[in-house]
């Protein structure tokens, strides 16, 4: 049935085909995430003219250039801050952020927690491949312990972030996680995020076969994806309060959801109340 529902979705109508061939490595999961995003945009009938995609620096950051929309490739770690200005100034646009684990959780970590707290209507897609791929394979805040990277030659000794637990704790209105193996489920999760009236954080477990996989002898892309998928535990968030830093069992699906007021609307309501009270 998923194949049927994809029948009227032609990804080429949402891509800048003149930009092909794309620059992602063979086996990279980011293209699958991009497909899921555009499929979700298609199914929701979001007008390309009204879609604004803001992306940071890194492999994930390069995806915005391929999308036939209003696209902004900004500075490292800052896409959520740029998107905050854009979404506040232009509430008529659908604002999507595409970021990576380094972009979003290391250099951009402060912007993430405050975007979650503020709850402005932005859909943030964080593509987690556990590594800084663009710069050659350095350790990131989501690299699993013991993994080899170019800056952890003896294996990573730092515990990694659970990005979804972080986003939920910071108050994000919508938090979800999915793997690239489950494309229709991923599409549905992104759709739900796009439909959420506040800040939506979606973590996509992607794979970096060429650099991270090769360095750690993780095999081909299908092998990496299957290993990821077999470690999943699709449950509700409340069952997983002990999840942060547990390595081998990750919850997927919608992990947190709340109905806190959307920031832009709340700001405008407060201003109107003050004006009326004059």
């Amino acid at each position: 049935m998923f194949i049927d529902s994809a029948a009227d979705f032609d990804i080429k109508t949402y891509l800048r085909m003149e930009m092909m061939p794309h620059f992602l490595c063979p086996g990279c999961g980011h293209g699958i995430a991009l497909r899921a995003l555009l499929w979700a945009v298609h199914e929701l009938g979001i007008d390309k003219d009204r879609l604004a995609v803001v992306s940071g620096i890194g492999c994930a950051g390069r995806l915005s250039a391929y999308i036939d929309a209003n696209t902004f490739h900004v500075t490292h770690g800052r896409p959520l801050a740029f998107a905050t200005g854009l979404a506040l100034a232009r509430p008529d646009l659908s604002v999507v952020v595409i970021t990576g684990d380094g972009d979003c959780l290391a250099i951009g970590g402060n912007h993430l927690i405050h975007a979650c707290r503020r709850n402005l209507k932005i859909t943030c897609l964080m593509l987690n491949n556990e590594v800084y791929g663009m710069t050659g394979g350095q350790v990131s805040p989501t690299t699993s312990e013991t993994r080899l990277t170019t800056t952890t030659p003896s294996g990573n000794s730092e515990p990694h972030f659970d990005a979804c637990a972080l986003a939920a704790a910071a108050g994000a209105g919508f938090v979800g996680r999915e793997v690239t193996h489950h494309v229709p489920k991923l599409k549905e999760l992104i759709k739900a995020g796009l439909e959420h009236p506040g800040f939506a954080f979606v973590e996509v477990l992607s794979d970096c076969t060429e650099i991270f996989g090769r360095k750690n002898d993780l095999g081909s892309s299908p092998e990496m994806i299957m290993r990821q998928t077999s470690a999943l535990r699709p449950t509700a968030y409340r069952d997983t309060v002990d999840m942060p830093f547990r390595a081998n069992s990750l919850p997927t699906g919608i992990l947190a959801k709340n109905a806190r007021p959307e920031y832009g609307a709340a700001y405008r309501r407060a201003a109107a109340r003050k004006e009326a009270g004059r």
Binding site: T71, T75, A81, G85, R90, N110, Y267
Partner: protein, 386 residues
């Protein structure tokens, strides 16, 4: 009728306002409808005032999590087609530089107010300085054009804030408004009627969508921006890009776009340059100063003239690009040039560059105290009599 309506339309309205309040009122008069900032002394009053004024004028104020984010949010709002500003000081200006460079490279209009306080580092938050002149010009990595304005009174802060938006929007450039802590927190009774000059507005793309190239400029050298939602669906990036806006490292395409970028302000210098020359026609000594120091220098010129000494004042109002021709004209008869400034010699370096070979002396103060008229007059007198 709110405060800004009164300010903009009340021709005879005189108000006692501080420099920072004049800046906020100027921003509203210029059409600024977005401000993102972060608290920092001595610029915070601008944010406080705009947090009140913007929602009253269909605009948005947001206090971001840090200085970096507030610069980013301002650029984001401007990408959305809305006139946007931030204000900061000292270390905050350092943190703005990363995204300020992005605005220069991707050519996104924005206004950055930097109220100069003592440095380096945390320095003297409540004391004045003029030590960010070079950072305003060269603070972000790489080569790039930028405009910086240095008003010299509370009324001029109002006017120059408006002009900052005009220049930013028309020439698609970040514009830095530089003034010191004294002017920021000095209150003066001024008229808040905006000048009758028409606002310069940003040009947005029109015409056939298939032909639109976001970084292809006409003879003006200034490319036309796409308004998100109008169907042009363009791409912007901090990477070097071609006329189509997409990243490229093709040497010809990179050189072509960067040559246009680096040279884009030059044909428009008549609209950008601004300076004041006082008693320079016959001057033996010309004082070159900006901001509150120029205010002291103005009095120093009077004191010297009362003694029969031929002393003049040249005051850049547009600091960057530096008004070279006007400085050369103002110093045509001068035997010596004196540069008083609250730093270790930044304006003096520039004056020495422009007037290569001329006798240029500096009067530098970085103790957190403004330079007073008698000090400047004494030094100018000694130079005139030498």
């Amino acid at each position: 009728m709110n405060a800004v309506d009164t300010a903009v339309t009340g021709r005879s309205a005189l108000k006692l306002v501080s420099g920072n309040t004049a800046c906020a009122l100027g921003a509203i008069a210029a059409g600024c409808r977005f401000f993102a900032g972060y608290p920092i002394t001595p610029s915070s009053e601008i944010a406080e005032k705009l947090s009140q004024l913007l929602p009253e004028n269909d605009g948005v104020f947001v206090q971001m999590e840090d200085e970096i984010a507030s610069m980013a949010a301002v650029i984001g709002a401007s990408m959305g087609g809305v006139k946007a500003m931030t204000a900061t000081s000292g270390p905050g200006f350092s943190l703005k530089q990363e995204n300020l460079g992005y605005a220069a490279g991707a050519e996104i209009p924005c206004v950055v107010v930097n109220v100069m306080r003592g440095g380096p580092s945390t320095g003297m938050p409540t004391r004045p300085s003029q030590a960010d002149l070079m950072q305003a010009r060269w603070g972000s990595h790489g080569d790039y054009p930028i405009i910086a304005l240095t008003p010299g009174s509370v009324r001029e802060i109002f006017d120059e804030t408006i002009r900052a938006f005009d220049l930013a929007e028309r020439f698609r450039s970040p514009v830095v408004l530089l003034y010191d802590q004294v002017l920021a927190q000095l209150s003066e009774t001024i008229s808040l009627a905006a000048k009758d000059t028409p606002r310069l507005e940003r040009r947005f793309a029109s015409g056939p969508r298939a032909d639109y190239q976001p970084y292809a400029a006409d003879a003006s050298g200034i490319p036309v921006m796409a308004y998100p939602g109008s169907g042009y669906r363009s791409h912007m990036t901090g990477l070097t890009h071609g006329e189509d806006g997409f990243p490229t490292q093709n040497p010809q395409a990179v050189a072509r776009n960067l040559s246009r970028l680096f040279g884009k302000l030059e044909p428009h210098r008549a609209a950008i340059d601004s300076s004041e020359a006082l008693h320079c026609n016959d001057a033996d000594v010309v004082i070159v100063a900006i901001g509150i120091t120029a205010r002291a220098a103005r009095r120093a010129v009077e004191l010297c003239r009362e003694q029969g000494l031929r002393v003049g004042l040249f005051r850049p109002i547009t600091l960057w690009p530096f008004p070279e021709p006007a400085l050369r004209a103002a110093t045509a008869t001068a035997r010596a040039v004196l540069v008083p400034e609250m730093n270790a010699g930044q304006l003096r370096f520039e004056v020495e560059r422009v007037l290569a070979g001329a006798r240029v002396e500096g009067l530098h103060r970085f103790s957190g105290e403004p330079i007073v008229p008698v000090e400047i007059a004494a030094r100018a007198t000694a130079m005139a009599e030498a």
